[in-house]
């Protein structure tokens, strides 16, 4: 039996790896997900079988079975109901459950283990798993609330300062405990740490700005993975260690990618600070050209290659479906339509792609920023929809601008740029967009969704 279980864990580990590997192409990704899911079921079923063969009280078994049944059902329901725009919230929520599981596991395990016979390294691992799990739990819940617009950023000094004190305490207290200065039992000590870590999780996410959410979600995801790996160490369970580390690695990788795409260092994101523009903001008079809806429709229909640069504004306006319609209409007229997507478009990594895929846009039409920039001069018309800072040329040529250094989509290199805007408001960074004043750029004022609908209607008539 023991050997079978070990082999089962091995297969599970390989299935995680294989699943992730398959996820690198849109065609095979579905299979990859299935492989990883089956590996997971195998690991859980085998662990459970071991439970039945050992003499475990029925009470425990029944509680576990019930918990698993209810958990599966609720998970299925939540995932069926979610809207694609709400995906970041759901992923955060699921991340919170993983963290919560890790934290509770630490608490229960602390109660079961005898501190006198357990080696200190195992206790340290357990503490690490508990603390990381608790941070991921409350951090993800706050992230979810923020994404849902229920909690606002709190960037006060008190929050940031208390968070740092807590972080210090969480490192210092275990040291003091193991020296023997803190005279409480191991379990009680774990409860104290769990509380501190949960408060820290809240304070740590509170100051982080809304647009930095992609970074935070990735980071929290990786923290949950690390918590899993710590727990895996406690049990010497390789499937848990491997699974945890893969997730940790994925999270860190995405975190750094997102930071790079926003030209912000991880530390600055975590501190919730923003780069202030030097020398004050120099507002130059811009000569702005307006364009009408019919002119836009006309220039789109006579173009050969059109690129759409979508931003989160598109999703907020729920305009991705009309966007898909526009694309189909243009393709019927033999216009090639591509989407050029900035890595931080949306509220989590890759979010915009999911929204467009939902609107039936084929993934071969979704271009990454670098690929889009390479062929930019081939595009006759670039339509900017709900994006602003990511097309601002100031990021490349104005060292005084707060967005300077951020990689951008070089829409200005195309033959014509049409920016759809509600008003002359500024982007998230609150910076004037140099693109609007350029010779080849015109602005179509109005609500993105209504304008798109009108363009679609007119194209049908042309």
């Amino acid at each position: 039996m023991y050997a079978i279980i070990e082999v089962g864990y091995l297969i599970a580990t390989l299935s995680f790896l294989g699943g992730l590997k398959f996820m690198s192409s849109p065609k095979n990704a579905k299979t990859g997900n299935l492989i990883a899911a089956m590996g997971m079921v195998l690991a859980v079923v085998l662990t459970f079988l071991a439970a039945i063969t050992a003499t475990v009280p029925y009470t425990n078994l029944i509680i576990m079975l019930l918990a698993i049944a209810v958990g599966t059902l609720i998970g299925k329901r939540l995932s069926d109901k979610v809207q694609m725009t709400g995906m970041p919230q759901l992923v955060s929520l699921f991340n919170a459950t993983g963290g919560g599981c890790a934290m509770l596991l630490g608490l229960v395990e602390a109660n079961q283990m005898d501190p006198a016979t357990t080696i200190i390294s195992n206790q340290i691992l357990l503490i690490s798993g508990l603390v990381t799990g608790a941070i991921a739990l409350t951090g993800s819940i706050i992230a979810e609330r923020k994404l849902a617009g229920k909690v606002k950023d709190r960037r006060s000094k008190t929050v940031i300062f208390s968070a740092r004190i807590l972080l210090g305490l969480m490192i210092l207290l275990p040291v003091l405990y193991f020296i023997g200065i803190i005279p409480i039992g191991f379990t009680a000590f774990m409860y104290v740490l769990a509380t501190l870590a949960m408060v820290y999780g809240v304070l740590f996410v509170l100051p982080i700005g809304g647009a930095d959410m992609p970074v935070v979600i990735s980071l929290l995801n990786s923290i949950t993975g690390i918590a899993t790996a710590f727990a895996g160490f406690v049990y010497g369970n390789k499937a848990m260690i491997a699974g945890g580390i893969f997730v940790g690695a994925a999270g860190i990788l995405l975190t750094l990618l997102m930071c790079k795409a926003m030209n912000r260092s991880l530390l600055k994101v975590l501190a919730g600070t923003f780069k202030k523009s030097k020398n004050g903001v120099v507002e130059e008079e811009q000569d702005i050209k307006e364009i009408s809806i019919s002119e836009t429709a006309l220039s789109l229909s006579f173009a050969q290659k059109v690129a759409i640069v979508p931003g989160y504004g598109l999703a907020v306006a729920q305009a991705q479906h009309i966007c898909g319609q526009l694309q189909q209409l243009l393709e019927k007229r033999n216009v090639e339509v591509n989407y050029i997507i900035h890595p931080v478009a949306g509220r989590m990594p890759g979010h915009m792609n999911v929204l467009l895929a939902e609107a039936n846009v084929d993934y071969s039409r979704l271009k990454e920023m670098d690929e889009g920039n390479e062929n930019m001069e081939q595009y006759d018309t670039v339509l900017v929809l709900g994006a602003n800072d990511v097309v601002n040329p100031a990021a490349e040529n104005n060292p005084d601008s707060p967005v300077y250094g951020m990689p951008i989509i070089r829409a200005y290199e195309s033959k014509q740029v049409i920016v759809m805007k509600r008003s002359m408001g500024k982007g998230y960074a609150g910076v004037q967009n140099d693109l609007f004043g350029l010779e080849n750029c015109s602005i179509l004022f109005g609500d993105a969704k209504a304008s798109l609908q009108e363009i679609v209607n007119q194209l049908k008539l042309i």
């Binding site: 690198s24 918990a67 299925k76 459950t97 596991l105 580390i245 989590m348 990594p349 895929a357």
Partner: protein, 98 residues
């Protein structure tokens, strides 16, 4: 030192996992980053295995820990089930051919 001696295999294992993990994940294109993340999230639900292991050792009359452990199992399952289902839903959208 005692720790390193006892766990040397695991330490090798961790190092290999880190490198393999980064290598595999770096190959995922940006268009799939959201499902990758929710898929990875589901994989981190393997913590459920740990929750089950610990539940096996809780005495049947220790109600506090049975409750906590039960919640842990529930949360872990929710993480796995929700994570894989929602990832599957997203991938299905990407693989649809018109």
């Amino acid at each position: 030192m005692e720790f390193i001696n006892q766990h040397i295999q695991e330490i090798y294992f961790v190092i290999f996992c880190v490198f393999i993990g980064i290598e595999v994940i770096a190959n995922v294109p940006a268009i799939l980053h959201t499902p990758l993340m929710s898929g990875a999230n589901a994989i981190s639900g393997v913590i459920l295995v740990g929750a089950i292991i610990v539940m096996l050792r809780v005495p049947a009359n220790d109600y506090l820990n049975l409750t906590l452990g039960g919640i842990a199992v529930f949360l872990g399952t929710l993480n796995i089930s929700g994570g894989f289902f929602v990832t599957g839903r997203m991938f299905k959208m990407f693989s649809q051919k018109k």
